[in-house]
């Protein structure tokens, strides 16, 4: 008996380029502008509970009220609340290739109580610890447009 030919399965392989243009909006734009032009972190305050919102936004989720333009400058110092470092290179869609990252990255609790995700300058894994004090290192040349471009990383500081 003749052998039944095995079925061939076709794969359609393609790479697509997806250019996007997101509007940061009124509130995030203010933060990004301050970062870009003045190397400052700012955010707005809820008119009702007086808590600082983060990132700056138009509604306080807790009070369910519209937040206004009560802007506050934040410290760019903080404490490492958690960290990790990449060992196995992952696909980075922004670079279009597998990227290994030398800098550990961390969740940093800023002194005004906001969390921020950023890289750490310290590359010695033995020296990393939760609770270490850090401060933002701002990009000097060719200003960026947002959090990951205007702050290069956070540098370990004494206090």
């Amino acid at each position: 008996m003749a052998q039944e030919p095995s079925q061939e399965y076709i794969h359609v392989a393609y790479t697509m380029s997806r250019p996007y243009r997101w509007s940061a909006g009124k509130y995030l734009s203010k933060l990004y502008k301050e970062m870009r032009d003045s190397k400052k972190l700012v955010t707005n305050r809820c008119p009702k509970c007086k808590e600082l919102l983060w990132p700056p936004q138009m509604v306080c989720g807790r009070c369910k009220v519209r937040a206004g333009d009560d802007w506050v400058e934040l410290s760019d110092k903080g404490t490492v609340a958690g960290y990790t470092y990449l060992v196995y290179p992952l696909w980075d869609p922004h670079a279009g290739k597998r990227v290994g990252e030398d800098h550990p990255y961390a969740t940093i609790l800023l002194d005004d109580g906001m969390y921020m995700v950023s890289r750490l300058e310290e590359q010695d894994k033995e020296k990393l610890k939760v609770g270490m004090r850090v401060q933002a290192v701002w990009r000097e040349e060719g200003r960026g447009r947002g959090l990951d471009e205007d702050i290069l990383y956070f540098r370990t500081i004494e206090q």
Partner: protein
């Protein structure tokens, strides 16, 4: 007063890294047919279909429209939910709401993800907003790596404990014919030899990307009693959403904001007279993307005291034969078709209640079970199932 609602049909595909033999609709259809066969129903009996899938992972626009025929939703109403990791329970929750309201008598829930089509981590990383660390976020892996390092520091759990959770998951998966990774792991040492993806997460500490689908048939009490003599009642559903960035990670490490898991489970337990979850519930299927996360989630769902999640695995409490089995199916660590992953949690709880889990049926009698899901932003969705109401 809402109608009572039961699960009357359960179906899932087997799971693999790649399914070159089927298209996305063909794969989903396997689960649909399995659920219909389980309930002894046909597509004509289904009034509405609730889909769960994250379409950016496959790059297929409106997949629920593209598989209307294969899902049995041709010329019927329904919708797709894409809420990250909670999608598959959110879809079940909506089917529950619609049947409880009396609008439909029989509905189908269909979770599916064909991970071989794209790169999920790249899709998540690309879609991250600037505020959430665009250009630095590494999909889910980075977040769970940070959570693991925090949990280690806070609770005193060690890498050995995490390895014990993976070992349990693998033992369970080896008894579940539908599970994806069935590695036959023998020892903690073997797991501790696997390389780090992102410290302290090792390759074997994290969930895989699976191709697979899971379907549930949800029916009103009247239909349920006609269809099956083993209905599994949906006692309650709950979902809690949280903005993750304000809390910084998936949680507020400062303790200023409660965990969404804590809020969701407290609400669910209170509404259902559960005062001691580990006593009043018999087992759980939870969405644990990493072994570290399983230990932590057991705490925030109040299966144990704070910082004692690792003691559950140390004492064997969460094993198939244990006092409170967690993820006897092998869980997400073994099988992770994201859109279907939470649907599988519900399906597995229902199978345990029916006594139909086969080789991975837990030792204790399961009358009450809880299924949970964890979504991209820190969202939590839960379903409480009972053998009788």
């Amino acid at each position: 007063m809402a109608n009572r609602v039961a699960i009357v049909g359960i179906g899932q595909t087997y799971h693999k890294s790649r399914r070159p033999d089927v298209s996305q609709p063909e794969m989903a259809n396997e689960a649909v047919r399995a659920a219909l066969a389980d309930a002894q129903l046909s597509m004509k009996d289904i009034e509405s279909v609730f889909f769960s899938n994250m379409e950016t992972f496959e790059g297929i626009y409106l997949p629920d429209h593209g598989m209307a025929d294969e899902a049995g939703s041709f010329m019927k109403p329904g919708f797709k939910i894409a809420s990250g990791g909670t999608s598959g329970i959110a879809a079940a929750k909506e089917a529950f709401h619609f049947v409880a309201s009396g609008l439909f008598s029989i509905a189908l829930v269909l979770g599916f993800e064909k991970h071989d089509a794209g790169d999920t981590t790249a899709a998540i990383t690309a879609a991250t907003t600037l505020a959430w660390g665009k250009g630095q976020a590494r999909g889910a892996i980075g977040e769970f790596a940070k959570q693991a390092s925090n949990y280690m520091k806070q609770s005193g759990a060690t890498e050995e404990h995490a390895a014990m959770v993976r070992l349990k998951a693998d033992r369970c998966a080896c008894r579940n014919p539908y599970a994806h990774l069935r590695l036959g792991l023998k020892s903690v040492e073997e797991i501790l030899k696997s390389g780090y993806l992102e410290w302290p997460l090792r390759l074997l500490d994290f969930c895989p990307q699976s191709c697979g689908a899971c379907a549930l048939i949800i029916a009103s009490e009247e239909e349920a009693r006609r269809i099956t003599n083993k209905p599994v009642w949906i006692a309650d559903v709950v979902a809690v959403h949280q903005e993750p960035f304000r809390a910084g990670a998936f949680c507020d490490l400062d303790g200023r904001e409660p965990y969404s898991q804590d809020v969701a489970s407290t609400k669910l337990y209170k509404r259902n007279g559960i005062t001691n979850p580990r006593r009043d519930i018999d087992m759980a299927e939870i969405y644990e993307p990493s072994n570290w996360e399983e230990m932590f989630l057991c705490e925030v769902f109040h299966f144990c005291e704070e910082n004692e999640g690792w003691k559950l695995i140390e004492k064997g409490i969460t094993e198939i034969e244990g006092e409170f089995p967690v993820n006897p199916s092998g869980g997400v660590l073994a099988t992770n078709p994201i859109g279907a992953t939470p649907t599988i949690r519900v399906a597995e709880c229902a199978l345990q209640i029916r006594g139909d889990a086969g080789e991975h049926q837990v030792t204790r009698d399961v009358k009450t079970a809880v299924a949970t899901a964890l979504g991209g932003p820190n969202w939590t969705a839960m379903v409480l199932l009972r053998r009788s109401l």
